[in-house]
Symmetry: C2
Subunit: 405 residues, 2 copies
């Protein structure tokens, strides 16, 4: 049933309006501007080694059906819908007969895809007894352990299926999540969602490192997307896993990291820079002069102490402190109004990282950070989730085809 509405089973009404890119002359003009479309059918899912788009809409869903067929149908429906939306098209006719609801909700009509990617992942809970998937569960898809400093809220953590929608237009990203929720009706429900914003392509040099809400450049030493060797070493699952269906996939960790920005804003500049190990304005490491200068972890100042403190974020988060391990980060800033308990802004970083093995990569890094990082005074992790993201879909293999085979 679910598949049918996307596949075109609903009769198009007589309104005479073509859909999508050819909607109207002004809409077509709009659709031709902006970011290029990201191919949906590909070896890896989009949204992982894709240059970070400006906006994020993330959602976690829980299955309400316990039918394996419903799960398969849902993944097929979502695959077909994602293929359409990432090409700037509605998920189905908006000009239905008057007697039936429109298939697409319509708010993205006339808007370009804006580089939309939709990335799906399966949480550990999906592999419980409900769908007969226990034997397909990767050994490393076990929930993250309790980590130092966690103050996680269960109602905004975890979930059976995670969906990351990124685009340069927030209405397009929201539209994707909303239509996934609509197409899931009766089978799965939203568990939690999060909006985020990042660099802005219209006003920021694409090579510039964006700043986080603490005012510091964030991501200087991230894995470069053109570094295919690092992507193979650290991000995409090769032949080493125990589950063939994850080859070409990646493991996604999300963490909602609230920043106590009022406290931060009261901190003196010298301490802020010591916390990060970088100069605030330029982004240069404290041992260098410009942003991309090599971080010198052993250089000492006139006081005999290392210039970059022992508990500086740049030291503890870097590969040198983590056995050379890296993760691919693509975080987004968020702000969710005011915390009614404190009257302070609820804002921070929605951290997203892709990696081959979260227990060998994210967990040891975060354990080190959570224990010692000078940043801890100013942040709290309030949400956490882990998802196994399969490889890219193809027209003959929708999301989950190999998992549910």
């Amino acid at each position: 049933m679910l598949g049918a509405v996307v596949g075109g089973g609903v009769v198009v009404g007589g309104g005479g309006f073509a859909l999508g890119h050819s909607l109207s002359s002004s809409a077509a003009e709009a659709a031709n501007s902006g970011s290029p479309d990201i191919p949906f059918y590909a070896q890896h899912q989009g949204g992982i080694a894709t240059p970070a788009q400006d906006r994020l809409a993330f959602a976690a869903f829980d299955m309400t059906s316990t039918s394996r067929d419903d799960l398969r149908d849902l993944l097929l429906t979502w695959t077909q819908a994602a293929a359409k939306m990432t090409a700037g098209q509605p998920v189905g006719p908006t000009e239905t007969q008057p007697e039936v609801p429109p298939v697409d909700t319509g708010e993205a009509l006339g808007l370009a895809a804006g580089g939309l990617t939709i990335t799906i992942g399966f949480g550990p809970s999906l592999f419980d007894q409900r769908f007969g998937l226990a034997s397909k569960k990767p050994a490393i898809l076990t929930p993250l352990p309790a980590l130092p400093g966690d103050e996680l809220q269960p109602e905004i953590s975890n979930g059976d299926i995670g969906v990351q929608a990124c685009a340069d237009d927030p209405q397009v990203a929201f539209h994707a999540i909303r239509n996934f929720a609509r197409l899931a009706r009766g089978v799965a429900v939203l568990r939690w969602s999060q909006l985020g914003f990042g660099r802005t392509s219209t006003t920021s040099n694409s090579q510039a490192t964006p700043r986080n809400l603490m005012g510091f450049k964030d991501g200087t030493n991230n894995i470069k997307l053109e570094d295919t060797s690092a992507l193979a070493d650290f991000v995409f699952v090769g032949n080493e896993g125990d589950q063939a269906w994850m080859r070409g996939g990646s493991y996604l960790v999300t963490r909602r990291i609230r920043m106590h920005i009022e406290s931060w804003d009261r901190d003196r500049l010298g301490d802020q820079e010591a916390v990060f190990g970088r100069t605030k304005t330029s982004g240069a490491p404290l041992t260098g002069k410009s942003e991309f200068d090599t971080v010198n972890l052993t250089a000492k100042g006139s006081d005999g102490q290392t210039v970059i403190p022992a508990d500086a974020h740049i030291r503890l988060a870097g590969p040198a402190s983590n056995g050379g391990l890296k993760i691919l980060r693509r975080g987004y800033s968020y702000t969710d109004g005011i915390d009614p308990r404190t009257g302070e802004l609820d804002a921070g970083l929605f951290f997203i990282a892709y990696q081959k093995d979260p227990h060998k990569q994210f967990v040891p890094i975060q354990t080190r950070l959570g224990s010692s990082d000078a940043l801890n005074e100013y942040i709290t992790h309030t949400s956490s989730a882990l998802f196994a993201c399969p490889p890219g879909a193809s027209t003959s293999k929708p999301w989950g085809a190999d998992l549910l085979r």
Copy 2:
């Protein structure tokens, strides 16, 4: 005290980094792209008759100080900060001495102003006994009456001072609100805040009418910003008011209108179109063929009923049903995650309207809509506020100068 930090009372550190547009070559390049700056010092405040930017950050503040001098200082500080931020500059030095906190929080460094406007307004509560302003209260600045269908939440309604920050970059809009909150420390606190998103300039023709989250074009018959006669008739206060300090100003009504989009998405197309009185895909009135065709409220169908139903939104909200009165709307869509009580998306429209007299313009229109509008089944008003926005500031007259004279 507050004024000093913006005015340059903090010594700039020796880092040698120029601030703002000349931060670095890449930042300068970024700053030169994007939207043009909107002049801050002008007859009217920006953000009213300014073409709607892509993003909104709105906040309401409550005074915690009861000192009239503190209020005056705060408004001076905010005026100076707004003049800097709307020109793409930080509110003060980021390169302070290490012993003191940076004056600007830094997250917008290197970003262009993105068409930033900051618009301030004074709520009815500011004119109580605290600041001796009772005699300066406009007679029409009385709280909005209870309106049909209201389900207002007091904690996200009203406030002593409202601040609307609009820009094409959400980080820039957020930065403005955050720095206002920081500069107000000890004098005023955030009461509530709201983010919103609208059209996206990179992907949408600037002449195209944006769609709301119900998928319908919204704003087709809004006051055109080039229609100076309509702005004078309906938006900006002239000589008719009882308070000289409001001449050139406008009255701002905000309403957070939650849409029950899950119910809406289940509604059949014919009913959706009858609710609005427009065709969904094209935006044409049901009596026309294209979006800007004249709405014919008397045309009848073969069944003898008017084609545009008696309770259609387009009929009840239009000037013909409201004695020719218009308001200037500049609403933004919002989505604030999931309502924990229902599991449904908390999303809708943050309605913003500027007008000469809310009791003659917004109140009768909303009373009519709240009583009869077919849309009511699908929406709930959850927040409401009213602010008196003074005219534009000048270098010799900061915000509130005439009010506090």
